[in-house]
């Protein structure tokens, strides 16, 4: 029809004018061309519809109540009449207050502003003003700060948190590990600060020497961790009979090759060493390889993989917990060298990474033959949380002198280098002096009857190490912390034997862990206080 086409051609410059006539305003008229239920102001309703209503949902429609006099439309239902009919009244409502608005010379005072309709001219300007998540009332001083932000640089070093897989250029740094069976699976990502050691079986034979990628050195150093290349730290060559030799020039990549019916340069083990900063960035990565050779009969080899993390500028020391001791890990101990206020553990740690006998607390290890003098030097490290007792039998003959026997027994009980300090936390650093607990030495004598006048021979027969530890930290995740270590040596009198006779005395050493943590105390929040204060000079003229 031509009317609608004409209407479509006319583009509205602004939104339709708001309805201000109270007689025509109806907020409950929601359905177009249909009667809304209980809507007395709906023009679509007929008298028959009104007779079915129960109440009027909109009883009065007024203008702004601040005005002194305003028009009001009142709708009501006359239920007395039969049938009920709607009553419509148009009255002047008067505001009795003396502060009612008599007149206003400001057009937008009592109504909402009509928003600007977007057209092709002002669309860009409107988008600039209102296109973002926030906009202010004054478009002039709206600053475009979002443009000044630089996009984050992709080349920035990536910061890791504990357990996050280490990203390489294409995917993640992989540490092959057995998944369901013992066969290697290459899908195990290495997590940051998660020291792992895995062993798995790889199927390889001399014919497939060049085909299997996972036995070639290139597979493990090809992918570079973001911005850091994996360098080859050392190569150990293992011969067919198991003898290992460290190669001198270790920056050459040796690829598998077939030589005299053997496939050599097969990767038997990889050990990654990642150096990180305390901000969580990886700055160095090195890999040590163990290469071996296989012959025709071999169908599969066992590969071992390891990854360890070292913080930059610190010496790598195996932790026994982070920070509290973990049950089953050895207790870390150390010495205070002459002149230095910190334990000398750091000097020893540089030599051997994994097992460091000088920095552990050890106890005599029982052997099958139970002869103390024959079992020289067999010691086992003390593991946190495991009470141990061990011992041996000492055969004393008449020919033994007191002083050498005492010294031998002390060496037996305490070992060659009994440490002086024990780390209170599993990750105590050698530089933090206060994190180390000194070992207290006590001497007791077995015989209560103190025959001190008699200068008899006292030989040590028992060493008891008592480790007192406490729970430290939060209630949900308590950390074990060693508070006190006491080494008690019990001595007994050596009675002089008649010649030819011999005695056997038992020598024992034990370790006991005692939990001395105090019970948790409940903590309650303080009661809220009413803070009502008068100003300082409230009673000014009088006070």
């Amino acid at each position: 029809p031509p009317e609608t086409r004409a209407a479509a051609r006319v583009r509205p410059r602004s939104a339709p004018a708001p309805v201000t006539d109270v007689a025509k305003l109806c907020v409950c008229d929601l359905l177009v061309a249909q009667c809304d239920v209980n809507c007395c102001c709906d023009p679509d309703c007929s008298a028959a519809d009104f007779s079915l209503f129960t109440t009027c949902s909109v009883p009065i429609v007024t203008g702004d109540s601040h005005l002194c006099s305003q028009k009001a439309a009142i709708y009501s239902l006359d239920v007395e009449a039969n049938p009920p009919e709607r009553i419509f009244k148009l009255i002047d409502q008067v505001n009795p207050s003396v502060f009612c608005i008599h007149a206003t010379n400001y057009e937008q005072a009592l109504s909402f502003r009509s928003p600007e309709m977007p057209t092709s001219e002002n669309f860009d300007q409107l988008l600039k003003r209102f296109g973002s998540a926030t906009f202010s009332a004054e478009p002039d001083n709206w600053n475009m700060n979002t443009d000044a932000q630089n996009p984050s640089d992709v080349n920035e070093t990536y910061r890791y948190e504990y357990g996050v897989p280490i990203r390489t250029v294409d995917a993640f740094l992989r540490l092959p590990s057995p998944v369901v069976s013992s066969w290697c699976s290459d899908a195990n990502p290495a997590g940051f600060l998660v020291n792992q050691a895995t062993k798995c079986t790889r199927s390889v034979s001399v014919e497939k020497c060049y085909n299997v990628q996972a036995v070639s050195m290139l597979f493990y150093i090809n992918s570079s961790i973001l911005a850091v290349n994996i360098t080859v730290q050392s190569i150990v060559v293992q011969s067919l009979n198991g003898m290992r030799t460290l190669l001198n020039g270790s920056d050459v990549i040796r690829l598998p090759m077939i030589l005299d019916e053997l496939c050599i340069n097969i990767v038997l083990g990889v050990s990654y060493h990642i150096t990180y900063t305390d901000a969580g960035e990886i700055i160095e990565a090195a890999a040590s390889f163990v290469l071996g050779a296989i012959n025709n009969e071999v169908l599969s080899i066992q590969q071992s993989f390891e990854i360890s993390f070292t913080q930059v500028n610190t010496k790598p020391v195996p932790l026994s917990g982070n920070p509290g001791y973990v049950v089953g890990l050895p207790i870390r101990a150390g010495f205070r060298p002459q002149g230095y206020p910190f334990p000398v553990e750091i000097l020893f740690a540089a030599l051997v990474l994994n097992t460091n006998k000088y920095s552990q607390l050890t106890i005599l290890q029982s052997t099958s033959h139970q002869d103390c003098l024959a079992a020289q030097g067999a010691r086992t490290p003390i593991l946190f949380g495991y009470n141990m007792i061990s011992g041996c039998k000492l055969r004393i003959t008449a020919a033994m002198k007191c002083q050498p026997l005492t010294q031998t027994l002390l060496d037996l009980l305490k070992g060659q280098s009994f440490p002086e300090y024990v780390a209170s936390f599993g990750n105590s650093q050698a530089q933090d002096v206060l994190d180390w607990v000194p070992i207290t030495h006590l001497h007791t004598s077995e015989q209560r009857i103190s025959n001190t006048f008699q200068s008899s021979c006292q030989i040590p027969v028992s060493l008891e190490i008592e480790v007192k530890w406490t729970k430290y930290g939060s209630l949900v995740n308590p950390q074990a912390r060693i508070v006190n270590v006491t080494a008690t040596i019990t001595t007994t009198t050596l009675k002089q034997l008649p010649s030819g006779r011999e005695r056997t005395i038992p020598v024992t050493s034990s370790v006991v862990f005692t939990d001395i943590s105090s019970p948790a105390e409940p903590g309650y929040k303080a009661w809220p206080t009413i803070n009502a204060r008068l100003p300082f000079d409230f009673f000014f003229p009088f006070v």
């Binding site: 601040h66 002194c68 207050s97 003396v98 502060f99 009612c100 608005i101 008599h102 007149a103 206003t104 010379n105 400001y106 937008q108 005072a109 009592l110």
Partner: protein
């Protein structure tokens, strides 16, 4: 009629009452402007002229009452004439506050009407006094 005294006593009484009433008027108008700015939408563009004109009106009122009182008591027609001229300005300002203010409340209408009535009465008495002084 005391022929030796030309000063108009009713005019002086009216000046006195006008002064007191104007103090009340000034405080009431100022308070209502503050009320309007809190309750209604009162942009700064409209608030500034209203406050400025109220201040000007207060200054004019002080001058007007001073000159009028001085002229009446010294029986000189020059200050009284000046006061009459200033009254015209005050009337215009009062009409502004009655009709052209941003928000005209009913209370505004009442106090401005009283002020205008006072001005009218004063003007008549001033003209009579000037006529008495001149002759």
């Amino acid at each position: 009629n005391n022929s030796y005294q030309l000063s108009s006593v009713p005019l002086q009484i009216l000046f006195y009452v006008n002064g007191i009433y104007y103090i009340f008027y000034f405080l009431a108008t100022l308070a209502m402007i503050v009320y309007k700015s809190q309750v209604f939408s009162y942009p700064d563009d409209f608030l500034a002229p209203d406050l400025a004109l109220l201040l000007i009106m207060a200054i004019l009122e002080v001058l007007r009452l001073y000159f009028g009182s001085k002229g009446n008591l010294t029986e000189e027609e020059a200050p009284l004439g000046l006061s009459l001229v200033i009254t015209v300005g005050s009337v215009i300002l009062s009409v502004y506050f009655l009709v052209w203010q941003t928000y005209v409340l009913k209370a505004d209408v009442i106090i401005n009407a009283v002020l205008l009535f006072t001005y009218g009465l004063e003007s008549v008495l001033k003209v009579v006094a000037i006529a008495a002084f001149v002759s």
